[in-house]
Symmetry: C2
Subunit: 127 residues, 2 copies
């Protein structure tokens, strides 16, 4: 089997985040499990070919959300068919534009979003 | 085109991280660019089918490493052919075991690594 990677987001308010990612990105919830404390222990969303994992933060095992840390050290680059349409939809759902969409000299159009849970997204499309 | 995601790691010491990821994970450096300040402005590594982006932290645009934040809010789940072999190789290269490899009741074997740059990796394989 070939090596693959999947980003696993720590979220304060994972249940709300699942609703947000559906509205903002058209994500489908592909699975969801609670832990003994009623927190979301694991959830999976699918956006096109992209699978993303998320769960409520679990500070006791060092799984801490951007809300608690004060930022995120991993941006999620999401390649989409239409940067502007997706950014508009995400902003309507509650995301903030960190950098507006613009054509880049390396042949991509991209912009940056901050979601309501503190995760950062670079929304990209080849020009 | 279908939607895809690529994790983009903020690193304090991205040049050293490129060396580490080659040793630890067998990554190939697929591209690397410096910015005006001599920092790595963008780099790409390939591990099997997985592409990962990284760059030196750029605090002026909110791109902050786990070293500076005190943790990471996005764990990278990496599915590999052999969990134990990869974890052993990564530890020899300087990673720390956050949770040793173990068989899980959901049919996967996995363990957690902390790399020298503060990024966390869940190394997984179906049993």
């Amino acid at each position: 089997m070939e090596t693959k990677v999947t980003p696993y987001l720590a979220v304060k308010g994972a249940a709300e985040a699942l609703v947000f990612y559906q509205k903002a990105f058209g994500a489908k919830v592909a699975g969801q499990m609670s832990d003994e404390q009623g927190r979301i222990g694991h959830a999976e969303i699918q956006i096109g070919e992209a699978r993303i994992y998320l769960a409520d933060e679990h500070p006791e095992i060092g799984f801490i959300s951007p809300t608690s840390l004060g930022g995120s050290a991993v941006m999620i680059e999401m390649t989409v068919p239409d940067v502007d349409a997706l950014m508009e939809r995400a902003v309507e759902a509650g995301a903030t534009v960190a950098r507006p969409a613009a054509d880049q000299d390396y042949g991509w159009r991209n912009g940056k979003l901050l979601d309501p849970f503190g995760h950062t997204w670079m929304i990209s499309s080849p020009i």
